[in-house]
Symmetry: C2
């Protein structure tokens, strides 16, 4: 349930009570649910308690969450969050993603290729400032421009003033704008990862299921000035873990929810967006699965992509099932009806519905040419490979940077420059065979969607088949060479043009159409944001209190209790243990994906099989929460979120506490494995004491 840039993450639903009010909620740290906590649990969420937890929480910009667990910069997250970095550090010789890694000494910690960690320092409401820049009589395109310019100015001003990464976040689908300031860490080193087979035991088959048995953890260390960062706010490790029924908290970065969407928008997801996305994911899953099966090295190269695709597909399938259940739509319709029919509300609902109709027309084109995300390493669906993403970025950079800050495409803003350059100059290995495979399939998708005889498609394919064209482009481009990218970045538009790089020239060919669709898409978004601001005011007036906004991959607090559930009449206990792990493997005769790493077979007798391994709780989470710490009232680390159950995928659209559950690795289970299976005593000591041991770390017991 890593976020991976996807819409959040729903199943069914026999008994599930569909609630459109976020009873639990993914709360802003600036608007915590103090009253509810006090009333339901007698707990005081003090400013100091909240500030400490906020500053102990870490965002992985690659798409997940984590937390500091020692004064010496140690960060814990999920293995599947670290997978992106493990993949980038791996080679044909060292497959750290599959085989794991353990730094025997501090010097052996491996510097990540392009990982950026963010730690939230403050939150400021800038709604007034942003809206003041947008005159009510501006057309949608002018309004979108004005809003973007205002946001860029706020971000840049904040960066200059504080030196902190400064992001303006759109909340309540446009009802509010908050400025988030982060401390950034870009020297991050890998400390420890288990084998993927224990981190992701049961594979795609068990993903989003429970009971589970996954050691889905990975440890990094943040460095500053070449030394482990000194961290004031970190979480103390709990050797006791959490008890059944205990109040606990999750502090992390849920990626995306759609609870505040209107009925028309939900239908758009169900009828248009999800079917498109699922078809594409399944197409890619088959493509990468078959290619991986042909050869072990293929499998290694495609591993991170393949996991991403499978994980996303399972989440979307679950969410689609939720969208197909009539109860959700009935509840949503009731909610909208309850808002009354004041002209302002009715007009806003109608404007959203009209915008959705425009989106229906435009969506495939927007996905193919523009894409869901605007990042250095993210390419649109028609050209889905890192090389194209880099080529487009190199093409656009001099064009955008020549404009005033507020008029640029947002990812080229001055405030985003540091993170942008980190991503652009990544040393990540990019494999031409995998790139060719992905680009060929993407070009084929483009031809199918627009029609092979479409003049634009014919220009893109240049008289070749998609495979031939992809081969020609990938083998001809130099964008995979970091030195080449640095040269073009420094040389500006003239250097880019002089290079005559075939992939950059393709990006140039596509650019007018890509920019046009992006502009139209953003205009539609502006109209919707304005309408949602009205709807949010109406909802606020109705309930008379704040509610948690939809998730936006920013820090949120959710509360809940450790609790089992009932599935198809069967009681599911909240905790699993190591005995269960071995039993499940044996039930499948140790066959994939239920095989155990050799070390786990050998060390079985050393383990206390009764130690709790995984657990479920009622927390309101979604993709992006992966790696979030589970903490107790004392703010201690009692576990780490790594997944939700299929029933929990409904959380994208509505909160449910009957069957929806968050799944964590238990803090006790982690320590047991680190001690008994991996023998990494120094690391255990650091976790237990909250600082690195003074003496050199002892070598691992085994290989």
């Amino acid at each position: 349930m890593k976020i991976l840039g996807l819409a959040g993450s729903l199943m069914l639903f026999g008994a599930a009570a569909v609630s459109l009010r976020a009873d639990a909620g993914m709360w802003l740290f600036s608007e915590p649910p103090r009253e509810q906590l006090k009333a339901r649990y007698g707990f005081d969420a003090t400013d100091a308690w909240l500030d400490h937890l906020m500053k102990s929480s870490v965002r992985f910009n690659s798409g997940g969450s984590g937390s500091f667990v020692s004064a010496d910069g140690l960060v814990i997250t999920n293995h599947h969050v670290g997978a992106d970095d493990l993949q980038k550090l791996s080679s044909a010789e060292h497959n750290y993603l599959r085989d794991g890694f353990s730094a025997a000494t501090p010097e052996a910690e491996l510097k990540c290729v392009d990982l950026e960690l963010n730690v939230l320092q403050s939150i400021e409401d800038v709604t007034g400032q942003v809206n003041a820049a947008v005159d009510a009589d501006l057309s949608a395109d002018k309004a979108a421009e004005a809003r973007r310019a205002a946001i860029a100015a706020i971000e840049k001003g904040s960066l200059e003033k504080t030196g902190l990464r400064s992001d303006v976040v759109t909340l309540h689908q446009g009802g509010a704008y908050h400025l988030y300031r982060y401390k950034r860490y870009t020297d991050v080193r890998l400390v420890f990862a288990p084998e993927q087979q224990i981190a992701f035991f049961g594979g795609d088959a068990d993903n989003f299921e429970y009971p589970r048995y996954n050691l889905d953890v990975c440890l990094f260390r943040a460095y500053e000035n070449g030394k482990p960062a000194h961290i004031e706010n970190f979480l103390r490790w709990s050797a006791q873990g959490a008890a059944d029924g205990e109040l606990t908290f999750v502090s992390g970065h849920p990626g995306h929810t759609d609870r505040q969407l209107t009925l028309a928008e939900l239908k758009f997801l169900r009828d248009v967006q999800f079917p498109y996305t699922l078809a594409r994911l399944k197409r890619l899953e088959v493509l990468l699965g078959n290619w991986s099966a042909r050869d072990g090295e293929n499998a290694r190269r495609a591993r991170d992509d393949y996991f991403y695709i499978q994980n996303s597909r399972k989440a979307y399938d679950g969410e689609m099932a939720a969208l197909q259940a009539p109860a959700l739509f009935a509840a949503k319709a009731t909610g909208e009806h309850a808002l009354g029919n004041a002209a302002e509300v009715a007009g806003s609902l109608a404007r959203v519905a009209a915008s959705v109709e425009q989106q229906k027309e435009l969506m495939v084109r927007q996905r193919l040419l523009d894409g869901r995300r605007h990042e250095v390493l993210f390419a649109p669906d028609a050209f889905w490979c890192d090389s194209f993403a880099l080529a487009r970025t190199l093409l656009r950079t001099p064009v955008e940077r020549a404009k005033p800050d507020g008029e640029r495409l947002e990812e080229y803003s001055d405030a985003a420059r540091e993170s942008f350059e980190l991503a652009l100059f990544t040393e990540k290995p990019i494999h031409s065979d995998l790139e060719t495979l992905k680009l060929a399939d993407s070009l084929g998708l483009l031809a199918e969607q627009f029609g092979h005889d479409d003049p634009f498609v014919q220009q893109v394919l240049a008289g070749k088949s998609p495979r031939q064209r992809a081969y020609e482009l990938i083998s001809g481009t130099k964008v995979r060479d970091v030195a080449f990218r640095r040269e073009l970045y420094a040389g500006g538009a003239a250097a880019v043009a002089a290079a005559k790089d075939p992939l950059i020239e393709l990006a140039r060919l596509v650019d007018p159409a890509a920019r046009e669709v992006r502009k139209r898409w953003e205009e539609i978004g502006e109209v919707k944001q304005q309408a949602h601001a009205v709807l949010e005011r109406a909802r606020f007036a109705q309930r008379g209190t704040g509610a948690a906004p939809d998730a936006t991959f920013t820090l949120r607090l959710s509360y809940g209790v450790v609790k089992g559930y009932t599935e198809s009449g069967k009681a599911i206990a909240p905790f699993t243990d190591y005995a269960g792990l071995y039993a499940r493997s044996a039930a499948h005769e140790g066959r994939e994906p239920f095989d155990l790493p050799a070390r786990w077979v050998e060390k079985r007798s050393a383990l206390d099989l009764a130690v709790p391994f995984n657990l479920v709780s009622t927390h309101d989470i979604i993709g992006g929460n992966s790696g979030s710490p589970l903490v107790n009232r004392a703010g201690e680390f009692v576990g780490i979120i790594f997944d939700g159950n299929l029933q929990g995928l409904i959380l994208a659209f509505a909160y449910d506490e009957v069957e929806a559950r968050a799944i964590s690795v238990d803090s006790r289970g982690i320590l047991e494995a680190l001690r008994k299976v991996y023998g990494v005593e120094a690391l255990v000591e650091e976790l237990v004491n909250g600082r690195r041991p003074a003496a050199p770390r002892a070598p691992r017991v085994d290989g």
Copy 2:
């Protein structure tokens, strides 16, 4: 490359010479390529030689080919052709599909559940009779009805006269109609099958690839009156096999090719039909793959479906790549241009193009509600599960049988009755969990394609989600019970209505729309057939001689030579051997799908590793040819076709001999395995001598 009801089976294509003339061709036994054989190879294809080969060839109605290899009814085919029967004979206790089977004694041979074998006895040209029934001034719907009635009358008359299964086959896309008469065998027993892991070694990864190492064989025995059938025409087994460069023949049942389509029709495949079909196959592949991975018994239940889906997807992907290569379309355009622009030709091309436009509008609806095939056990895409297929058949039978023979939907004709009842009363196990999974996904597809708010969809879903509705329907229906089916079949329309079976009632709800789209689809087909008849006459006039028509799952002869090829500059030798099998498994460290059955690990030292195992040849084949014998000039069995390479998938659209290759198991490799690995001496003796040994068959050496 079993046919499995799919369009035939293409890749690309650097060097492949695309030829739209079927130089090699899948020849009718009634119009064999005598001159070419004489001229190129000095070989006389005499009537006796052809008749013997024809009557030794066997069609598996489940979708493949085979041949008699002893006077006592022994039939050899591919394991993946027999897989359908192995699956139906298997249970949670005996997984014959995975683990193989060997009848230690004749009595132990297992009777197949519903397998029908057909052996072609004669071919008669009835083009004049069929066309005489269709007045030139009839509207398309009346013409289609008249043609169907004429065909039904010919078939029924032939059945009554000869007692033989009588099928009128449409050739040259409507240019000719031939009556095929078959001897039927419906008591067919399983004699021997190896483990699926050696039959399909390398799995989906190696499917359509070469070099290969597959023992893709399966042996059945045809019975008559409870005793092994006495067979006059069977193939003698060659202990020598074929040599590199040797002329050989393939006699089998290629399913479907599209070489005679017009440019407009090919574009329809590329732009509409293939994208739809591929998206659906990939969706099902992911669905079944994930479900299978959850549990071993799930995997067993879904195994045959899953193989079918993966195999089809790989074939379609390869064919799609061929369709995306500009060379094919350029050659097709040149061919049409060469036909000249006489009014009749131009008009026919225009009529085909106009029909294609109508098909574009109708295709998704036709696939969802009507389906690609009209068989007892084949359901349309929106209701894809055996239970629905049975429910629809039970609903329609009394309605159709009440009409005159010539006015019925063709599958309800009197001539087809015996095969129809065999299929309807199949004892095949139908698992409600798998059925629910498939139906839920299918209903979801329907909702996505028509829109969830469509009134028809709402009627079908009855206020439930697709999963809930599927569960309700599958758990509520009794159609999986053979006694129930017999009762309704005997009871007629009144019994069907009285049963109030929920799935039959769903079929009733859907039936008006399904019949309507089928009628419109058939009308379009009639217009195209008439136009193609004109085009075929023009082509015939131009070349002055017969050419092989597109494949129609009827018996065809192709000739070619054993020959390696060059791929990406690398020479690929024609033969592989057992040493190569073990080397490939070792290169993948014995991991799935390159693991070997335990028996093959144990018996390695007993095998002569230099014995040829698989081989490639230039024969013109396609899906449906699986299991076809490869015979030498003397008519001896030298191998068995089981696949084509990816480059060979272009054969669906055009012949190529540069890289396209058929792949066979070598007759020598088969004998070596039967002797050394399986120790089935009696079976070896029967193959070598062409009759069962008199003495009781010796038991197998091992389990």
